[in-house]
Point group: C2
Chain length 360, copies 2
């Protein structure tokens, strides 16, 4: 049930490069999501249908470790409790079970230690890729997944195949690559979404909700103009510099590609429609209008990427600690010199609220 190709969790523990201490950027959007979760539950959750069983099961898919993990799910709980109160239902008789899911390599030990002692829910950790079944059929009432679906189940095979026209020689990502490479990544995203939605359709009860927060690229925008893609282009150019210097071999560079894809809201919508088991109750795209408003500084961008990508670079590119320091120092400098913030307006965050809505 566990895909091995993309099982690189965020940095664990609580050290200087940990995801736990380098995820403040994500937090800002989770706070924005708070209001949307409240609205979603208030408007669309049929709590009366669920409360008869006395239990309410919530899953956080790709939960990682850190303050954001607990913050997100506590928002869901609070919203459900408020909904109960607004209907005059006693929310105290409702028992919550919260499932924290992430890859088997995620630091569940740290996650479990961070759970509040006075929590009013039963907690469980679920190891495994969400590109596959994780839960019994028809058991989940609310699924939450935030900043996760741009992670593919793996790098598309073609981009690592020397004989394919989509071979991504000398690059680690698609934004500035050939059209074939972009197509291979887009196809992988579509396929992964199919697997994701198929699995969730089996696990979520009829009428259950799923709230996805995704990093997206504005409809119609070029891949190369999306903020995250621009940033990763800089990372690619740092690696190219290190190849030129001889620090990294050309072969290793050719073999490595990032298993990520920033879809557009339209691509998300199409995936949901193809699956056919969920209806879109809400789809909100959020922008940052100007660089000044953007919550990440140049410094925090580099640290954030390090927390996210270090495990992957260590394992797949066999970069040691010194090489990682060199890489991310260079990366920080390139950010400082770049006009990257001009591209902020082509990036967006899309909140999608789905309801499991058909009996098939």
């Amino acid at each position: 049930m566990e895909g091995s190709s993309n099982a690189f969790p965020m940095n664990g523990g609580e050290g200087p490069h940990s995801y736990s201490r380098n995820s403040s950027g994500q937090r800002i959007f989770i706070e924005r999501a708070r209001k949307l979760i409240q609205e979603a539950v208030a408007e669309h959750l049929d709590i009366e249908a669920f409360s008869s069983s006395g239990v309410f099961l919530v899953a956080d898919l790709g939960c990682s470790v850190g303050p954001n993990t607990l913050y997100a799910v506590s928002n869901v709980l609070q919203a459900v409790e408020q909904k109960c109160q607004s209907l005059g239902l006693d929310s105290q008789i409702l028992e919550f079970q919260l499932f924290f899911n992430d890859h088997v390599g995620n630091d569940f030990n740290t996650l479990f230690r961070s759970l509040p002692a006075d929590r009013r829910y039963h907690a469980a950790g679920v190891p495994g890729s969400f590109y596959g079944r994780l839960f019994p059929k028809s058991c989940l009432h609310f699924v939450h997944s935030s900043f996760t679906l741009h992670w593919l189940s793996g790098v598309p095979k073609e981009v690592q195949d020397k004989s394919s026209p989509a071979w991504n020689k000398g690059r680690i990502f698609y934004p500035s690559a050939s059209e074939e490479v972009v197509k291979a990544y887009a196809a992988q995203f579509a396929k992964d979404m199919e697997v994701f939605l198929h699995a969730r359709a089996q696990e979520v009860v009829l009428g259950g909700l799923m709230m996805l927060t995704c990093v997206t690229r504005h409809d119609g925008a070029l891949h190369s103009e999306a903020f995250a893609n621009r940033s990763l282009d800089l990372l690619e150019s740092c690696l190219v510099d290190m190849v030129k210097k001889g620090t990294i071999s050309e072969e290793r560079m050719d073999e490595f590609n990032l298993p990520m894809y920033y879809a557009s809201p339209q691509e998300m919508k199409e995936a949901v429609e193809r699956n056919g088991r969920f209806s879109i109750k809400k789809m909100v795209e959020l922008f940052e209008g100007s660089a000044e408003a953007y919550p990440l500084t140049r410094k925090t961008i580099a640290s954030s990427w390090r927390a996210v990508l270090e495990g992957l670079l260590k394992e797949k590119m066999q970069l040691g600690d010194e090489m990682l320091d060199e890489l991310f120092d260079l990366f920080t400098r390139k950010h400082d010199e770049s006009s990257i913030f001009e591209f902020v307006r082509e990036s967006s965050f899309t909140f999608v609220l789905l309801e499991r809505s058909t009996t098939n």
Copy 2:
């Protein structure tokens, strides 16, 4: 939901002192339990009542980490599948969810990595003390707990209270202590069992089964004559030697006590009857008739105790690695010189099969 007083898990990882590599003694009894689990499921599980929902939830309480963990639950699954087949039910339409529970300090990361990739169940880890609620109401179909209930929720308060007649000065355990100390331990066991059974009564569905494998002391036997107690008496005498040598302070020795109690089958029975929500479907006491038949050698006894107690001794007695080496070397020597195997016949293993049987 997590008691902190006894949250000392077995040694994690896979090193020479890990529980994972020092639990072969327990394994032998788990293998004996295999047949009993099969019989229990075959004779007492009303699988037709449960299979309509299509899911079957199993919890392993105090699962620890290691080969035994997976072996025990796979026995349960196999038994349920066999039962389905014997009734002509398609066991493939039944989905299993397995909850692995242990203290929050248990090494869940290693446990999750050890789960087989081709498992035919959904796995989840549940952190927290089983002396409290862990799951939503009425959700579990089968609970398994093996070699766990001799761990108390904590040391009885009186034995650490200088002003109490039950103060356990100069000792770490009850078998050779005053009657007051023994009574305090027995009362703690009774209280803990009450909490344990009360929580499980809420979590297990009507008709659900609970299989407990317990290390016990034969009814009527003196505490000091049970095998595990004799062994821990030797550990106590090693610590007394170290106090005499000045390696450990007298004060530290006075403050430390083991949070364990080996109950008799009769005490188990009384606890179940006091709770009143479970009926005893089976209670089998197993003995080892002679020392020769006993599966543990003197060497493996010391290693087993080390894997089990090291965390506790490190934290509560502040013993460093060197002191632990000294302690367990001495412990091994004392075992070699002791007549401990003569006491094997007063120890037993008791398998208790309970059914959640009343509607209250």
